[in-house]
């Protein structure tokens, strides 16, 4: 029995997978790759596999982590080759390592997430104005948003601590959506969704960004507290 942690990327072809779809996909890919995985014991056995983060529908990413417990010994290169041979176009394993039993779970190691979003501006707003707004937004010591908690009640939450930086960049073609880069920080495994940050900018300044599901959201990098 050994634990394998791996880094993978997800591109446009599979960006519409839900978290559950992706779990199912990996589970089936393990079987197709003839990699035997461990199951939990008990009434309803589950495969022992997980991801550092649940990816939201629509997200593309160069940097995601997953882990799986396999039966017996398995070389990590062998793991990568076999998995990449069976994974559909749109998912690819970049690196993998075998770790000790006691290695902390991936989700407990989350540190920072680097995003890049392609967002359209509302017609009256230009790039320069957006730039100013973001600068003053980042100077706010507290940014409260309304959020539904687990019990379904609306509560106030300060998202400022999760935001490390935001920058906006214009594409060569000024008609294209602008590129918003965001670095967000995990605090006790919690963070804020980048779309929610844009929404709070809108709430504080009037409509700036056009927020709808056609925003393209991409993760460049995911930083862990320990080396991978």
């Amino acid at each position: 029995m050994s634990k394998i942690q791996y880094r993978f990327k997800r591109s446009t072809a599979l960006r519409f997978l839900s978290h559950l779809d992706q779990q199912r996909l990996f589970q089936r890919a393990f079987r197709r790759a003839n990699i035997n995985i461990e199951y939990s014991h008990g009434f309803n056995p589950h495969p022992r596999m997980s991801f550092a983060l649940a990816m939201s529908v629509g997200l593309t990413s160069d940097w995601e982590y997953g882990e799986v417990i396999v039966t017996g010994e398995l070389d990590c290169n062998d793991f990568m080759t076999r998995m990449n041979a069976v994974l559909p176009n749109g998912l690819e394993i970049i690196s993998a390592k075998v770790c000790d039993e006691g290695t902390p779970s991936l989700s407990s190691l989350l540190e920072k997430s680097y995003y890049s979003l392609k967002v359209k501006l509302v017609p009256e707003i230009n790039f320069e104005r957006t730039n100013q707004i973001i600068k003053s937004y980042l100077e706010l010591p507290v940014i409260n948003i309304q959020k539904r908690n687990k019990k379904g009640k609306m509560v106030e939450k300060d998202i400022r601590p999760f935001i490390e930086s935001i920058s906006v960049n214009q594409e060569d073609d000024k008609n294209d959506p602008i590129n918003v880069k965001m670095t967000l920080v995990y605090i006790e495994q919690q963070c804020v969704k980048p779309e929610l940050v844009l929404e709070s900018v809108n709430n504080l300044n009037g409509a700036i960004f056009i927020i709808d599901p056609t925003i393209e959201c991409h993760r460049h990098k995911l930083l862990l507290k320990a080396d991978f």
């Binding site: 199912r24 197709r32 056995p45």
Partner: protein, 615 residues
């Protein structure tokens, strides 16, 4: 177009991944001008269609041909439909995303009557002319097959040609005819006349139907060209064991209705239940051998990574070597955590032992189908199951720890009385009593008995094809009476909307005059009639009224044995005289034995030269 849809449309709809066609084992080819483009169309949602076995077989079979690219298309959900219309886009085949009207063939599978309105809707979204008569040179041929093609007449206006029976062999003959026709640069009508000569192909435009003006019944049904045969013989494959079955099947990313490898172990059924259309039209019974089944399943699991296999057939427990098969499969897959499921089991204790064998961990709910509440009624429908069988089975199940039992029934069966309705409640009560008799330590801590009663729909090619359906009022009274007859709180009761069943009865035994109604209902926005939230009986009622067609004529009327039925031109191998004899026996509650026990001469033995049942 692909990029535009991916970026601007799909993010706005539910389940966007189902509109991309890039699943594991989906087939992508590089098209050239000689390639035949075939869109296999399932007139319901992706989740429903992707669970369908026939599509998987034909998709694999057609794609084996180098010069054919078979792709898939499903009924887009209402949000996607809205996007297609608002953005002036054409419904497309998933794999290549080519607009549907550019294909050579659009082939619909007809699984249930309630999907007919979706066919019209999909044609409209594809910008293909609804009426076959309005299609021009260069338009796709719209073809159809599947169980509802056994009464194709309600769709006669819209479909260029139907395949009657098992499609595996016929479809390749049609493709070959198409290659020749294309080479010869023939006209649309030439192609249709040519394929009309292929056994099992029905081209509705080559036939003329006349009706009696006073009564409305058919007086003649005749071909209008020499190429079209008077009778269409359904096609079946003699040697199922060596027949084509794909080694790879498309694996959906999203959860589908049947999210597993579904493997067909035999075709046909010799039980002869009189209400069951599948049991008649899929005759004769043909089995695959244990080694074939095992090796094909092995390949499919390797190719898909599924963790569940379901052994499919009309009555899985009737497979001659079922115990060996299950034992072998359990042995092979126990360590690999691949589970085996058995749908369509009959009621006997043997089944429980088998279930125990395959479900060593989980005791999911147990579903049984006595179909009727009294022995007399079960004899009428020739469901060869006794109350004792049922109670033995539930007792065994309760002893082994099951606690949730669902019993399926039909109401509105021929000759039904209120006593038969009360019998359903009684059977539920006796099931509860069996549970109570078992030691508290042994039995499951909670008990739930669900009685589910659907409204009976008489179908073509069954002994009940002449019978009028109950009225909606009768159904309502029977449902009310059943509900009142249930005394125990451990029993719950569920039923189906009789409006849907009524419409199903109209189309199941309708003729080509219904095309007008279908078109009218489509114009009013009817689609997804099988989905409770979209079924609108008001619109249908208006469509009947506006086209001057009386639905009761089709659903409620008792038909004479000498009447020409709309589907009489099809020969399924089971003789009409046999069906009539069965209908008469039903009136006296006389049963007919299971085929392997005694041949009742249904006609299938003489139907095809060289065919012999049970050898």
């Amino acid at each position: 177009m692909n990029n535009y849809i991916e970026k601007n449309i799909l993010p706005l709809v539910t389940k966007p991944i189902t509109y991309l066609g890039n699943e594991v084992n989906s087939v992508h080819k590089t098209p050239n001008k000689d390639m035949i483009r075939f869109a296999f169309a399932f007139p319901d949602t992706y989740e429903v269609g992707m669970s369908h076995l026939g599509m998987k077989i034909l998709y694999g079979l057609l794609n084996e041909e180098k010069d054919i690219w078979c792709e898939r298309v499903f009924a887009p959900w209402v949000d996607m439909e809205e996007q297609l219309i608002n953005n002036d886009l054409t419904l497309y085949g998933l794999e290549s995303m080519m607009p549907l009207n550019e294909y050579d063939f659009v082939g619909f599978t007809l699984q249930y009557e309630m999907s007919f309105s979706n066919i019209l809707n999909m044609l409209k979204l594809s910008h293909i002319a609804l009426a076959a008569a309005d299609r021009k040179e260069g338009d796709p041929f719209v073809i159809a097959g599947g169980p509802c093609a056994y009464n194709p007449e309600p769709l006669a206006d819209f479909i260029d040609l139907f395949v009657i029976g098992e499609g595996e062999e016929v479809i390749l003959k049609i493709m070959e005819a198409y290659r020749q026709w294309k080479k010869a640069s023939g006209k649309r009508t030439d192609f249709l006349k040519t394929v009309a000569g292929i056994e099992g192909v029905y081209v509705p435009s080559l036939y003329k139907v006349s009706y009696d003006e006073a009564t409305g019944v058919i007086v003649s049904f005749l071909p209008i060209v020499d190429e079209a045969p008077k009778t269409i013989h359904k096609q079946f494959i003699d040697d199922l064991d060596s027949s084509y079955f794909p080694e790879k099947i498309v694996v959906s990313y999203i959860e589908t209705v049947h999210d597993r490898v579904s493997f067909e172990i035999f075709r046909g059924c010799g039980r002869g239940c009189r209400f069951c259309q599948a049991g008649m039209i899929y005759r004769p019974t043909r089995e695959k051998t244990v080694p074939t089944i095992q090796s094909k399943i092995r390949a499919l699991i390797e190719a898909t990574g599924y963790d569940e296999v379901s052994l499919s057939s009309l009555s899985t427990g009737d497979y001659s070597e079922i115990e060996t098969l299950i034992k072998n499969l359990v042995e092979e897959y126990e360590d690999q955590k691949v589970s085996i499921s058995l749908p369509s089991l009959r009621i006997d204790s043997l089944s429980i032992d088998m279930l125990e064998e395959i479900q060593k961990v989980r005791k999911a709910g147990l579903t049984l189908a006595p179909e009727a509440g009294t022995q007399r009624m079960r004899d009428v429908i020739n469901k060869g199951v006794t109350e004792e069988n049922l109670l033995d089975t539930v007792r065994t199940a309760f002893e082994k720890g099951w606690g949730h039992v669902k019993l399926y029934f039909m109401i509105g069966l021929p000759g039904e009385t209120y006593e038969d309705i009360e019998g359903i409640a009684d059977l539920g009560q006796k099931t509860v009593d069996e549970y109570m008799k078992i030691d508290k330590e042994l039995r499951n801590k909670s008990l739930k008995v669900v009685l589910s009663a659907s409204s009976f729909v008489p179908k073509a090619f069954t002994p009940f094809q002449w019978m009028g359906q109950n009225t909606r009022e009768e159904f309502k009274n029977k449902q009310r009476h059943l509900k009142a007859s249930i005394k125990d709180r451990k029993i719950s009761y569920s039923w189906h909307d009789s409006g849907v069943s009524f419409l199903e009865a109209v189309f199941a035994r309708g003729d080509r005059r219904l095309g007008k109604v279908l078109k009218r209902a489509h114009e009013k926005g009817c689609r997804f009639d099988g989905w409770g939230e979209y079924f609108d009986i008001e619109k249908w009622t208006e469509a009947f009224a506006e086209t001057g067609i009386d639905p009761d004529f089709y659903a409620l009327r008792n038909r004479g044995y000498d009447e020409i039925l709309p589907w009489d031109f099809i020969d399924t191998g089971v003789k009409k005289s046999f069906l009539k004899a069965e209908a008469i026996k039903a009136q006296e509650a006389l049963t007919t034995p299971y085929c392997p026990e005694k041949c009742s001469n249904c006609g299938i033995m003489e139907f095809k030269e060289g065919w012999q049942c049970h050898v």
